[in-house]
Symmetry: C2
Subunit: 341 residues, 2 copies
């Protein structure tokens, strides 16, 4: 079956992989942003009825999972396995959020690239016949992420303009073999890329080299040009990361300025919502994919996109020990269904 | 290809998956234990030449990876992708340890079940034709784990007899399609199992229900009896977790007391090494698998084993917030090669 491998890092899926359903749940701030109409649920309570940020994030994952499964007309017991993870230490949002579903799970850590990793591994598994239905999801929460990586909210720390705002939300997709609203046709697995940058308040700059690496490799492996995609969509580079990405790819001979879109720049209106460089977090790419992006594909407004969520591989320990912030990005090729497909 | 799926949670691999090589590196205490002769490298310096426990753990992963790749007669550039993770928040041991190899990576979080998760996803990928050579690895370090989950070492906290001792070490395997020293023939994906236990100093008890669930499901899915395996090997249940596992499985109609072995009980001599219930950590199952277990399979002393590393899905935040400690276990069926295979 080796003919599925493309170039150095990619796989062209040999069998049909469909996105049967997608679901998104976000917080109030995301619900006030430009994509408001596309989300399934907008919660007004940032605690989502819970007693801690972490529990709230778990509820987000559980809700997104249940909605996606329901939209696909399935029950949790019909899902063969799921690929999930989150930003919190030891991925507790996923563990506690998904335990009740009783679906076999492979836990992931890809920082904010997790939705790409999850869709990639889910698609590889469906194509190989390892499951009729596979669930892919991730989440983030502004409160739990600030607690995990930065300062207590009560401290009221000022944020530099290069900083991003962690999205409160979870996005989930059910993959299968037939029907559905879009198809996954290829995957490009990312490498860890470290340019030595150390500013955790400028993660767009830290992740842009990884996004460049994966997009470049995807174009090489599939022998495509940027215009072969209607959109090339990164996760949460933000405005500063976007500038760097476009520059880096130009140096490699590719101009993607017409195709590029960043979920972090799309989910908030930076001018009115005080989100500086844009949105971020696993939930940023996941909720934008499960709502806005999926709707564009289902409407056949976009025929083929490259979805490249980006992750910054730092922890507060590595940061405090003076380490750099390496990045990673996983690429997933998603296409609209032809009429009758 | 759906005929590969077995029962509810398992896959019988359709194509040949071989373990081409395995490598292990451990610390001094592990090197003084009963498995001393089987490890490739025993380090005398717990810092492995580094300035922090986290960096030391990264060095362990890098060394194990390079040894395994070298033993397989390969170069890092020939490895199509790798599956890796560790116990630390945001998996920094893997990110910083593996960045220099420049191999596409899927980051995992399965707590101490990670070697099972890594081998499972690696084997599924090789069988599906997604890579000629795939690297599977994980690590743990006593110093970094105590810092991550428990008390400062300088505090000299007393440990209850139910506690385990985190193994300092990393184990790595290169998978391929031909040749090699053993073969992977099946995989059982684990579910998160939560019996509501909250004692993070008795993780064997927290993980035993998950081990029971996965072993039971493996036997059902493949329609096997315990005696169809020469060994059923858990990761780090320790002596208390073992007792619970055997009891739980007896309640379900299976007596595995003759086949059961626990890596945590094997790696240390609890009586003379003051390790209480046994060894633990991702590196426990990984180093014992890459050394002792692989040697028994290569010698054909064992014909077929079920390897079931077990993970406790807690973080210090979830623990401090009064949450329970759910468990997970992934099963991998490994068989000796027939003569001439």
């Amino acid at each position: 079956m080796n003919q599925q491998m493309r170039g150095k890092q990619s796989v062209e899926l040999a069998n049909s992989v469909r996105i049967l359903s997608s679901a998104s749940i976000v917080g109030a701030k995301e619900g006030e942003g430009p994509l408001s109409d596309f989300f399934d649920v907008i919660g007004s309570d940032p605690m989502f009825g819970c007693e801690s940020w972490e529990e709230a994030e778990s509820v987000l994952q559980k809700e997104a999972a249940q909605m996606a499964i329901g939209k696909a007309g399935l029950k949790p017991s019909e899902i063969r396995m799921m690929f999930a993870g989150d930003l919190l230490a030891q991925s507790i949002a996923s563990s506690f959020g998904l335990v009740d579903l009783q679906i076999p799970i492979y836990g992931l850590y890809g920082a904010c690239s997790t939705m790409g990793e999850s869709l990639a591994l889910g698609a590889l598994s469906v194509s190989a016949g390892y499951g009729e239905y596979i669930l892919c999801l991730t989440s983030s929460h502004f409160g739990s992420a600030e607690k995990e990586f930065r300062y207590p909210l009560e401290y009221g720390s000022q944020r530099p303009l290069s900083a991003t705002w962690t999205v409160t939300g979870s996005g989930a997709c059910v993959l299968g073999t037939t029907g559905g609203r879009a198809k996954i046709t290829g995957v490009t697995t990312g490498k860890i890329v470290d340019f030595g940058l150390k500013d955790s308040q400028n993660m767009g700059a830290c992740m842009a080299p990884a996004a460049c690496d994966t997009i470049y490799q995807n174009l090489m492996d599939f022998q495509r040009l940027p215009e072969d995609y209607d959109k090339i969509i990164t996760g949460d580079l933000g405005s500063i990361g976007q500038t760097i990405l476009l520059d880096l790819l130009k140096d490699k001979g590719f101009d993607i300025s017409k195709q590029h879109m960043d979920c972090g720049m799309k989910i908030f209106d930076a001018k009115t919502q005080d989100t500086h460089a844009g949105g971020s977090g696993c939930g940023c790419a996941a909720t934008v994919f499960a709502s806005y992006i999926m709707s564009r594909l289902a409407m056949r407004e976009w025929k083929r996109i490259l979805f490249v969520p980006t992750g910054a591989l730092l922890s507060k320990v590595s940061f405090n020990e003076g380490q750099s912030v390496p990045g990673i990005a996983h690429g997933v090729v998603v296409e609209a269904l032809e009429k009758g497909e």
